[in-house]
Point group: C2
DNA sequence: ATATTGTTTTAAACTAAATTTAAAACGTTT
DNA sequence: AAACGTTTTAAATTTAGTTTAAAACAATAT
């Protein structure tokens, strides 16, 4: 009974480490088995396939890291504060978890449709409270009338995409790793600035 | 002599079609050979590897489609007009070439570094004239002083990323294919609006 | 016209990786 | 300790990409 959980966990842990280290595709099931000190076939016994194992790890990783994000969107903070916090928290997560970015890329690559089926991801998108908040504030005239679906897409695009093209940004701006991180840190203020400016009612 | 070009082209065409249809990873070299009606080994004879064939197709595709984009950025149009045209042209390209998006994802997935080495892609990024224009206009006080590298990243993020997460957007907003395209069409105006608003000097 | 040389094509082999199978080992329950 | 379910193992199978060695073909020189 203890051994049971143990083996499954050993596979999970070994795979996680290797996936971070070498990327999903460059990690073979044999690598995982050898690192976990188990037989090759056990990977298929516990997780039906490498793909499945990947999903399990990804789901776990997203779940752990995105609770806060959802809480922020669903909170009763005022829009400016909420947006600043959200952007900042989201960026911190992506800085701390390079794995998350490459996993996301891996999924978008394999089959873009798949992302829809993954509840953990789907859950992050289009929170009702935040959507309503933008509509309400628009009605009240506190902000310019804004389509929440565009606004949300704008926001997550500006947060996420730069991580996807990190090597390109580094190369084109001749940034070291630290300088890239500084660049990203700057975005914690530039992105909310831009978003809030669009929301301004003043013409 | 004719046969020569013929075979190479047949491989190229068959691979392109299959890559669109099933994605790069789910297309085997045997599929390509069979569709092109050629022997398996010819794929390696003409293109050294599947990866190479992929690169050839991608490079060709990008080259064909991005000449206009570069021209717009390098033109002497005023900023507002330039931004509107660029966003619109870029979106049109991505609507017309779903392959471009999935290829881009494929590359970012395999090795994010690779994108840096691909001149066709690297060329699109950080055009000197556009960068200078933003700095100059800032100095003249025509626009708010703006960091061109952030501005450019914001722009391409908002243009590109929504295509990457198309299934998620469709699903969450319950959009049909046509409605998604309409949504994207709207972005031809919302994105420039947002970008131009950030540039406004008025405080 | 035929031999030589270079190019293109073929069939078969090789390699590496994921997955499946069938049986052995282990534990629990009766 | 017998029977049953669970876990583990070693070996086989399958699927891909790539390589090899030779055959077919084409062009040119003898």
């Amino acid at each position: 009974m203890a051994k049971n959980k143990n083996t499954e966990q050993k596979i999970f842990d070994a795979a996680t480490e290797l996936f971070v280290e070498k990327g999903v595709d460059r990690t073979s099931v044999r690598d995982i088995a050898s690192k976990a000190g188990i037989n090759l076939a056990l990977m298929n016994y516990y997780f039906r396939s490498k793909e499945n194992l990947f999903d399990a790890i990804f789901t776990n990783l997203v779940q752990k890291n995105t609770k806060d994000l959802i809480q922020i969107l669903d909170s009763d903070l005022a829009l400016p504060e909420k947006i600043r916090k959200y952007v900042s928290a989201y960026i911190d997560i992506l800085i701390d978890n390079p794995l998350l970015v490459s996993f996301f890329m891996a999924i978008l690559h394999r089959s873009r449709e798949k992302i829809t089926e993954m509840e953990v991801v789907s859950n992050l998108y289009g929170r009702e409270i935040f959507t309503q908040q933008i509509i309400e504030e628009g009605k009240k005239g506190n902000i310019r009338k804004t389509d929440p679906s565009h606004f949300f897409v704008d926001m997550i695009s500006m947060i996420t995409f730069p991580f996807a093209i990190k090597p390109l940004i580094k190369h084109k701006n001749e940034l070291s790793e630290e300088e890239f991180n500084a660049f990203i840190e700057e975005r914690k203020t530039t992105i909310p600035e831009m978003l809030l400016k669009t929301l301004q009612p003043c013409e």
